[in-house]
């Protein structure tokens, strides 16, 4: 009797599982969505997924893609090894024919490799490593900015904001870059070095360091001695706060400082360094929202709707990675899949390559024109600045919500 009860319970649970996995009917658009949902990256991974989900909900409410619903098949990708396994499982066991994600460049490379192995297209939302679209996979697409675009934002900031203020040609500037030494910081620093070299500038110093360090005082002392005209920094959060605090302790303040937005563009940074954040410039996407008149009307409308829905869903304002993912998913569902008509990789590729939309047509302000290797060439970074506790856009003119202030940075305010 007990035996039979157990087996019937088993049968019931198998049936339930079967019911769950067939919740997506055969005709639905089944899209694999790989994000780090547990572990150290989970906070931002979960937010990024929420961005994608909002795009899916909005499209489904309007009847789906070509009359069929879109279903996200979610998987937890916490590390490259784990991402490989989960991507394989989605493709081989769940029958997924299209993959999206993620947060973290190394995870994204792992998913793209699986996609390549099974000839399944991969649509990347937020990872920035250049390498992703340079491996020659053929069916990897990235709508948003990569490390090259981020470095380009920095270079332009130096050229157009700092050089005129210093009354020098860019060539005559003494520029130093410090960066955390993982793939993220290194690739951006290298791109930056290569791009200013094209402008005839040699770096005065290139200083890598480990992001998990507890002390940056030797670096600060070196910078104090070198005293570059412009200091550029590619940092995560903890080291970004540490640098600014220890620079204050050493009474060293770079006059011209611009960061690349991982550490400095979070509200936690403002909290961590307090008033001292004032005036810090950051190359990033305009996470706090693009001003409406810089966008085409539909994109402006979409931005409003997204911010509203995100606040309802998550109880806070969207940050840059969730906005990137919303934008990427929305473009996929409204501009790529309807034209491609199926997940056939070549039809997808043809639909992606045919896209040609001007700057301002997505909610981050990007245009859409994919280069053959799969990177959107109309993605870029703007320059943000902390002003009175808010992140505002100060450059380029079209997107600026305020004029840059405190260039050069004044000395540390007395406490």
């Amino acid at each position: 009797m007990q035996m039979r009860m157990r087996s019937s319970a088993l049968a019931a649970s198998v049936a339930m599982l079967a019911a769950l996995s067939t919740a997506a009917s055969a005709e639905d658009w089944k899209i694999g969505a790989l994000f780090p949902l547990s572990g150290g990256l989970s906070v931002l991974g979960t937010e990024a997924l929420a961005g994608s989900e909002i795009a899916v909900d909005m499209v489904n409410e309007k009847g789906g893609v070509n009359g069929q619903k879109v279903v996200l098949i979610k998987a937890d990708a916490t590390s490259p090894a784990n991402a490989t396994n989960e991507a394989r499982r989605l493709v081989t066991r769940e029958g997924v024919k299209f993959l999206t994600g993620t947060y973290g460049s190394s995870i994204s490379l792992a998913i793209a490799a699986v996609g390549n192995q099974f000839k399944v297209p991969y649509w990347e939302g937020a990872a920035v490593s250049d390498e992703l679209t340079q491996r020659g996979y053929g069916y990897v697409f990235r709508l948003n900015d990569n490390a090259t675009a981020m470095a380009a934002g920095l270079v332009q900031a130096v050229d157009e904001i700092f050089a005129p203020k210093l009354g020098k040609e860019m060539k005559a500037l003494k520029i130093a870059i410090i960066h955390e030494d993982s793939a993220f910081g290194t690739s951006i620093a290298k791109d930056f070095e290569a791009q200013i070299k094209e402008k005839g500038v040699a770096l005065a110093a290139l200083e890598p360091y480990a992001a998990n360090t507890q002390d940056l005082s030797p670096l600060v002392l070196r910078l104090k001695e070198l005293n570059p005209d412009v200091l550029v920094a590619t940092q995560y959060f903890n080291d970004a706060v540490l640098l600014w605090r220890q620079a204050r302790n050493a009474s060293y303040k770079p006059k011209y400082f611009v960061a690349i937005g991982a550490g400095q563009s979070t509200p936690d940074y403002r909290k961590g360094v307090g008033e001292d954040a004032e005036g810090v410039l950051i190359a990033d996407v305009p996470s706090a929202g693009v001003k409406a008149d810089a966008l085409v009307p539909e994109a402006a409308e979409l931005q409003k709707e997204f911010i509203k829905r995100y606040k309802e869903k998550m109880g806070k304002d969207p940050a840059s990675h969730s906005t990137r993912h919303f934008s990427a998913m929305h473009v996929l569902l409204t501009k790529v899949l309807p034209k491609a008509g199926s997940f056939d990789p070549d039809k997808i590729k043809a639909a992606v390559m045919a896209l040609d939309e001007p700057i301002g047509s997505t909610i981050l302000g990007f245009g859409i024109k994919f280069a053959p290797e799969g990177q959107n060439s109309r993605s870029f970074n703007v320059i943000l600045q902390w002003q009175k506790g808010e992140l505002v856009t100060v450059w380029p003119q079209r997107f600026a919500t305020a004029a840059p202030i405190m260039v050069p940075l004044p000395d540390w305010a007395a406490k």
């Binding site: 150290g40 050493a250 961590g272 406490k415």
Partner: protein, 297 residues
């Protein structure tokens, strides 16, 4: 003084950093010296204390140092009561079991912190976060000076306590020979619990001192513990003066190599120093051979 300003800056920076490392390391050294237990979860107690201070500050706005007056005794009491059976079991287990038990505890606590408070970096801005103190010709951040001073006083106090108090003598007797100590009428179990609680409270104190300086996140304890292990082994396992010397030396090597060679090289350099010391003096700078058997002197 014939010191150039940059040299003086370097010296002070390395002293302050070394002081921090000493604070994180002495509890570990104490527990090992007496109990011969390498507590891999040591850093997690630093992390938990940082979170405790952070949340008290966020919730009621109580100053981190004041909150420390509650947090540190609370850790002591928790170790003394709740963790009592665990500590007694641990000290009587074979070394391999001790390693896995404390390492397991470390991973469990890290993930608990991740579950409860997510992976965000959290920091405190107090009115004195950016205060600089004039010291001779130098300007020194107040928070780091406090950490250094407290570490300095703590080491001296602990040393005197171990050397001259009755309890300290009982602790050293237990460390030297558990069985004989018991024959002399020392309640060995009680000593173990008290030493564990003391060592862990010192970890908590380190957390309190670090919170105004650093951001807290679930992985910070592990990062700090890695340095603490280097410090303790470099100075000599179980030797308190060794932990002080080791901490100051690592601080000095880290700052100077970061300045003169490159910030990215500093870890390589201090690990190289570590290896050289271990090759020439396997027991550490002030340790003695077989310390893992003999323990604290």
């Amino acid at each position: 003084m014939g010191l150039s300003p940059a040299m003086a800056d370097l010296l002070i920076a390395s002293l302050l950093l070394g002081g921090l490392y000493v604070t994180v390391s002495i509890g570990l050294s104490l527990v090992f010296g007496v109990m011969r237990v390498m507590n891999f979860a040591h850093g997690e107690f630093v992390m938990l204390a940082m979170y405790a201070v952070y949340w008290v500050y966020e919730a009621v706005g109580i100053d981190p140092y004041v909150a420390g007056l509650v947090v540190v005794p609370a850790i002591f009491i928790i170790c003394f009561t709740v963790l009592r059976p665990f500590v007694l079991w641990l000290v009587n287990s074979p070394p391999l079991v001790q390693v896995f038990a404390t390492l397991g505890l470390s991973i469990a606590l890290q993930n608990l912190a991740l579950l409860l408070w997510a992976g965000n970096f959290r920091s405190i801005q107090t009115s004195y976060s950016n205060t600089l103190v004039d010291l001779a010709t130098m300007r020194v951040p107040l928070t780091r000076l406090v950490a250094f001073t407290v570490a300095f006083l703590l080491v001296i106090g602990l040393h005197l306590f171990m050397k001259y108090s009755f309890f300290g003598k009982a602790v050293r007797a237990t460390a030297q020979n558990r069985r004989t100590a018991r024959l002399m009428g020392i309640n060995v179990e009680r000593i173990y619990i008290l030493v564990f609680a003391l060592g862990t409270s010192i970890a908590g104190l380190a957390g309190v001192l670090l919170m105004p300086i650093y951001s807290v996140h679930p992985g910070i304890g592990f990062q700090l513990a890695l340095i603490a292990f280097v410090v303790v082994v470099l100075g000599g396992l179980g030797s308190l003066p060794g932990a002080v010397l080791g901490g100051l030396l690592i601080g000095f090597v880290e700052v100077c190599s970061g300045y003169f060679i490159s910030p990215s090289m500093k870890q390589i350099v201090y690990f190289a120093v570590f290896i050289i010391v271990l090759v020439t003096r396997p027991a550490g700078l002030l340790g003695q051979r077989g310390a893992e058997e003999v323990g604290l002197k």
